[in-house]
């Protein structure tokens, strides 16, 4: 799942995949602006077959927070 997410984020933010790591977050990545956040939500919902709700979206500002949300959704 982590690798899949890294590939997805590399595509959405147009960042080489080597630079996408566990520490990536909205406040340390200049390409992670509100517009790309929209694309990220769309991409994640589609590629992981999940529906993100308001609570999810508010905390989705780092690689790790996204992994946490996805893992909790896969469990349920």
């Amino acid at each position: 799942m982590k690798d899949h997410l890294k590939l997805l984020m590399s595509n959405v933010f147009d960042v080489p995949i080597e630079l996408v790591n566990d520490k990536m977050a909205q406040d340390n990545c200049s390409q992670w602006d509100s517009l790309n956040q929209l694309l990220l939500i769309t991409a994640i919902e589609e590629e992981f077959s999940v529906t993100l709700n308001d609570d999810d979206v508010i905390v989705m500002n780092s690689f790790t927070s996204i992994i946490n949300i996805l893992e909790s959704k896969v469990q349920s």
């Binding site: 590939l7 997805l8 959405v12 147009d14 929209l38 694309l39 589609e46 709700n53």
Partner: protein, 593 residues
């Protein structure tokens, strides 16, 4: 498949393909503009991708959020500078006509007609203004019928109900466009019907970012929009090349004989009969039909001549290649004989082997496999836009061109007076004050998210904002606004820091929703006022350049500030309060606490 349709391709694969193809300088480029009063940026990559599939590179300009009139009325706007060939105007009805929905509790027919006429006038005004400045093709959306009106089953009974009002509005829009040469409708309501309203809207995205569409709706809108580009670039299909056995009829004519093949009024032969009738309809619209079949010629010809159930006759086909050669060679020969490029061909066959070979060797041909489930045969061309045209006939097109050139040369009103009238018509009310406790979260959020209209792009947490609020040496000024369509909320923030005899504008930003109305002047004037109240004689400010804030690069110069020192990334300014050039926009009513 090498190049899946935008309706099928995976999202992130699409993004990377779009980035790759953006660097391809061999593709022909078309300038396209999008004017809009909702967020549509996520649709752009889908749109670009679909255009790339037809070897067209779309060079896109998007107007600032909800700045349609500002761009349309100003001959020097980014819109006209972009020199678009096609201008798409995407409008959400609620945003320009809230009355349509608000007063539906007690509408009368008069009220409904009034609301409709207001919208039509708005469009007429906009189209006239566009035509003064450009010959571009204009494409505007029809409005989606509300599928769950408040009055439920009663609503559909009335002409003034929600459902029928929007239908009537759409109908009037079509009439308006008929009078306006070079303006076409893109039918969003039809798209919504195709996929179902439950699948069309994304209410969370709408509330979060004013983007109303689901992933599926975005793909469909992108696909539909691209059809206008592809048709205008002459990249549509002109000819369908058809196999015979298990394509035009069930069975193999060489084995079953001319009357043993399956095609008649009864199931399942009826599927092929319907398919042939649909092909005949397409032919009557000007699409060429051709045959490419591995058969003995005599077998196919005798079926066409002697089988009474077959509706397609020999003379319906512009070319026939019935032989045992490679289909790819036959297709190339048909294209040559009909004098069309192979990119204008659709190839239909029931054999995966033949389809894969043509896809590999002639990728510009659109190859369609006859579905195993024959009930789907009816839909193989659905939604592809293969045969789309922008007008009925060539003569219509030439007439349209002449008309547009005549009209666009007429210069009537001075357009700057038009924009002032437009601003006034918005009825903007602005409220400035220093920050309230309940605004802290929103202010912090704006500093974190605003990139474009932002002089210094300094990011603050809620705690930092609270500290600045509570300190005697600083102030946070907020701007809220509303217009006749509704409230914008808190859309402007300035952070001021006071010193002995001077003050600094640490932060000055406007939400992208609120630009293009001169609201920044109100915020700016209040900064100066606050400076004066704190006994400052001089104002310090700076501009820190980023990739995104070019639009405010000269904001301070325009207000009388002089650069004290500067380089490529930062400019530091100073100005005596008496020398600051302030603007008082007459169309904004300003309220102070």
């Amino acid at each position: 498949m090498a190049n899946p349709d935008v309706l099928d391709i995976k999202f992130s694969e699409m993004l990377s393909k779009v980035r790759l193809l953006s660097h391809d300088s061999s593709l022909s480029t078309v300038n396209i503009a999008f004017l809009r009063n909702m967020t549509i940026e996520p649709i752009m990559p889908f749109f670009q991708y679909q255009c790339f599939r037809y070897a067209v590179k779309a060079n896109i300009y998007t107007c600032d959020y909800d700045n349609i009139m500002q761009d349309v009325l100003n001959p020097q706007s980014g819109l006209y500078e972009h020199n678009p060939k096609i201008i798409f105007i995407f409008i959400k009805l609620e945003q320009i006509a809230p009355k349509f929905y608000l007063n539906c509790s007690a509408p009368t027919m008069d009220h409904t007609l009034n609301s409709i006429n207001e919208v039509i006038s708005y469009y007429k005004f906009m189209l006239d203004a566009i035509r003064k400045n450009t010959d571009a093709l204009v494409v505007l959306n029809s409005f989606e019928i509300p599928t769950f009106p408040f009055k439920g089953i009663l609503d559909s009974q009335k002409n003034e109900g929600e459902v029928n009002s929007v239908r009537k509005l759409n109908s009037k829009l079509v009439s308006l466009l008929k009078e306006n040469q070079g303006a076409l409708l893109i039918d969003f309501d039809l798209i919504c019907s195709r996929i179902g309203s439950a699948n069309y809207y994304d209410n969370m995205q709408w509330h979060m970012s004013k983007m109303p569409f689901s992933n599926l709706a975005m793909r469909n809108i992108a696909a539909e929009s691209s059809k206008y580009v592809i048709a205008s670039e002459g990249q549509t299909k002109k000819c369908i090349i058809l196999d015979c056995d298990n394509t035009l009829w069930g069975g193999v004519v060489g084995e079953d004989g001319e009357n043993g093949i399956l095609i008649d009024q009864n199931h399942p032969g009826s599927y092929f009969l319907q398919f042939q009738k649909d092909l005949l309809t397409l032919k009557s619209q000007g699409v060429l039909l051709a045959i490419c079949s591995k058969n003995n010629e005599i077998d196919v010809l005798s079926a066409l001549r002697n089988n009474d159930n077959i509706v397609l006759k020999e003379h319906d086909f512009s070319c026939m290649k019935i032989n045992w050669e490679l289909k790819t060679d036959n297709i190339k020969n048909i294209a040559r004989e009909l004098n069309i490029g192979s990119q204008h061909i659709v190839f239909v066959d029931d054999s995966e082997f033949e389809i894969e070979m043509v896809r590999k060797l002639l990728p510009e041909v659109s190859s369609i496999l006859i579905p195993k489930n024959l009930s789907k045969l009816k839909n193989i061309f659905d939604g592809k836009g293969y045969f789309d045209k922008l007008q009925e006939s060539e003569i219509d097109f030439q007439r349209t061109q002449m008309y547009r050139s005549e009209n666009s040369r007429k210069k009537e009103l001075n357009s700057s007076s038009n924009i002032e009238d437009y601003y006034s018509s918005l009825g903007i009310i602005a409220k400035v004050s220093t920050i309230d406790d309940k605004d802290v979260a929103r202010v912090a959020q704006l500093t974190q998210k605003t990139n474009q209209f932002n002089l210094t792009t300094r990011r603050y947490t809620e705690k930092e904002i609270t500290t600045l609020q509570q300190s005697d040496d600083s102030d946070i000024v907020t701007l809220k606004a509303e217009d006749k369509f509704g409230a914008y909320g808190l859309i402007g923030v300035a952070i001021l820091k006071y010193r002995e005899g001077s003050f600094e504008i640490d932060t000055f930003l406007m939400s992208c929703r609120a630009i293009g109305r001169k609201l920044e002047e109100i915020l700016f004037n209040e900064c100066i006022n606050q400076g004066k109240l704190n006994f400052a004689k001089v104002c310090d400010a700076s501009f820190i350049k980023t990739e995104k804030n070019m639009q405010v690069e000269y904001f301070l110069e325009e207000h009388g500030f002089e650069v004290q020192q500067g380089d490529l990334s930062k400019k530091i300014y100073r100005c005596e309060l008496g020398k600051i050039h302030s603007v008082v926009p007459s169309h904004i009513q300003c309220l102070y606490p």
